[in-house]
């Protein structure tokens, strides 16, 4: 598996995918490849279909046309191999669980029916907590965590699976600067270690700094490439569907 990966088989391969949501075409002609070590920022306005694309990759939506492959396998046969970090409000924070137990639920399907967690599961949880700097808070009830700590719990839950591909939905939204910095450096480390990451974001400057590649999405892929190559303002204006916005372009660092 490692040989295949290093020789360049994409961890994620999305080909001419179209997704139909209740009769409305939410995504069309999506081509996206994420390889080992990639940290791809998925950028687009609200309603561009970012979360829809993540859900299709997770197998929660069936594409209307096209194919999605994970490590060369069709996505619906690779269920449970992808680390997923949903938006924070998707999670029942009022549940009476300590941090470590919540992180362990990321491995429920791996542990298997009628089985208790084994040493490998506990090690994976310990390691994940360490990486998001939550080891000291492992016994804290999840209901008592701050927003930044909650985001770190969700990242740890995904990492506890030791996935090769990590999907993150708006991981930086509403976080304070220290948590943003912690997660930014964690994501770079993960990509250096050969994980593949795909994250949706509104925080364009941060994404441009962090990502190895950006993918501008608005129903379809408007442009894709390393941040440096996306200097053409027209591309950004098209992705966000605005005629002209100096503020947008400045905030992106496209023009200065």
């Amino acid at each position: 598996m490692t040989d295949v990966a290093t020789s360049g088989t994409p961890v994620l391969d999305v080909r001419s995918v179209a997704v139909d949501l209740g009769g409305r075409l939410a995504l069309k002609d999506i081509d996206l490849t994420v390889r080992v070590g990639d940290l791809v920022g998925l950028i687009g306005p609200n309603g561009a279909g970012k979360t829809t694309l993540l859900r299709a990759i997770l197998g929660l939506l069936t594409p209307h046309t096209g194919s999605i492959h994970l490590d060369g396998q069709p996505a619906d046969r690779s269920r449970g191999t992808v680390g997923y970090v949903p938006q924070r409000h998707e999670f029942a924070w009022d549940f009476p669980l300590p941090v470590a137990k919540a992180v362990l639920t990321g491995r429920t399907h791996r542990i298997g029916w009628l089985r208790r967690p084994r040493a490998a599961d506990r090690e994976a949880v310990d390691e994940a907590l360490e990486r998001v700097a939550m080891t000291e808070l492992r016994h804290r009830p999840i209901g008592e965590l701050s927003g930044g700590q909650r985001q770190r719990v969700l990242v740890a839950r995904a990492l506890a699976l030791r996935p090769r591909l990590l999907l993150l939905d708006e991981p930086f939204t509403g976080l304070d600067v220290p948590t943003q910095e912690l997660l930014t450096s964690l994501f770079s480390q993960l990509s250096d270690e050969g994980k593949a990451l795909l994250m949706t974001t509104h925080d364009l400057p941060a994404a441009a700094d962090l990502a190895t590649r950006l993918c501008l999405l608005n129903k379809t892929v408007i442009a894709e490439g390393p941040p440096d190559t996306l200097r053409d303002p027209a591309v950004w204006l098209r992705a966000f569907g605005v005629a002209k916005s100096d503020q947008l372009l400045t905030s992106l660092g496209v023009t200065r």
Binding site: G80, F91, A92, F95, P96, T105
Partner: protein
């Protein structure tokens, strides 16, 4: 002293009271465990719906003399199906459809029951329980079904928790979320049916929801909650029976009143979260110097205020 001993040992001299204690304790335990899942998923209303929708099945089973649990389960399932089908109409929300159908199921149950001889007596026993008139066979049924329910609840515990925490991610992992929902509904249905005899159709919700709600107030650990809820349910059931025997009052109603009393005490006095304890806890925080180191945020704010006041 003697009267206390009489209060404690008196009921045990009667076989019907011994059976009542056995059934009440078992129902309290099972309802506590299943109820904890119901409360944590915020589906208490579903429990209400199930307790009504099993009624026609139980009534039919009663009139035609076959297994009450089976009859109740079939009726519950059919009602759930009707709700699922009629909810497809997007103008109506699911809870509205549930409201329509559980009232309908209840009406149907009463009509069926009215065909049986001794109608009002049997209606009353369905509504409020007949815990003092339980047979040995009933005790065995409750014991066996209760044990099966506990085993199933234990077997799928971590999967149920995972789904309740985050449905979307659980689905993405490949957990059979729909099947797990069905298992949870089935657990609720059977729990309701076996508890019918103890506290009756209307009051069964109190055994399902209230002890779990008490336990949630008392702890932030699901493991402790899973132990506390059954203990509170069983303990309240026993105390209710004692009171019922001593004062010759309705057993089912007293069990519910006792468990509701426990709920109110928990709500007021629960550690850290109770109304009164939270207040004294906060006051203690402001006064105790030991806590300053533990909670630096608050004192820092205070000093800032103090420093600013003279300047302004």
């Amino acid at each position: 002293m003697n009267s206390v001993m009489d209060f404690l040992t008196g009921p045990w001299e009667h076989l019907f009271m011994r059976r009542a204690f056995a059934v009440a304790v078992m129902c309290g335990i099972v309802s506590g465990v299943v109820g904890a899942h119901v409360v944590l998923r915020g589906m208490a209303f579903i429990g209400d719906a199930v307790s009504h929708s099993v009624f026609p099945g139980v009534a039919i089973a009663f009139v035609f003399q076959f297994n009450l649990v089976l009859g109740g389960a079939v009726a519950g399932l059919l009602t759930a199906l009707a709700v699922a089908v009629f909810s497809q109409n997007r103008r109506l929300k699911e809870d509205t459809v549930i409201g329509v159908f559980f009232a309908a199921a209840f009406g149907l149950g009463i009509v069926i029951l009215s065909t049986a001889p001794g109608y009002s007596g049997s209606l009353e026993s369905f509504l409020f329980g007949q815990i003092l008139g339980i047979s040995d066979g009933d005790v065995v049924t409750v014991a066996v079904m209760g044990l099966i329910l506990l085993l199933i609840a234990g077997a799928v515990h971590k999967e149920l928790v995972t789904v309740s925490l985050d449905r979307e991610t659980a689905t993405a992992m490949g957990l059979p979320v729909f099947a797990l929902d069905v298992v949870l509904y089935a657990l609720v249905t059977v729990t309701v049916v076996i508890s019918l005899q103890a506290v009756g159709n209307i009051l069964v919700l109190a055994l399902l929801i209230t002890p779990a709600a008490c336990a949630r107030l008392l702890t932030d650990r699901i493991g402790i909650m899973m132990a506390l809820a059954p203990a509170i349910g069983a303990g309240s059931a026993v105390l209710g029976l004692y009171l019922s025997y001593a004062y010759n009052l309705a057993a089912g109603g007293l069990i519910v009143l006792v468990v509701t009393g426990v709920f109110i005490v928990c709500w007021l006095l629960a550690p850290r979260h109770g109304l009164l304890t939270a207040r004294t806890h906060r006051r203690g925080h402001a006064l105790a110097p030991d806590d300053v180191a533990a909670a630096p945020a608050q004192p820092t704010d205070n000093t800032a205020l103090v420093e600013r006041t003279p300047a302004a």
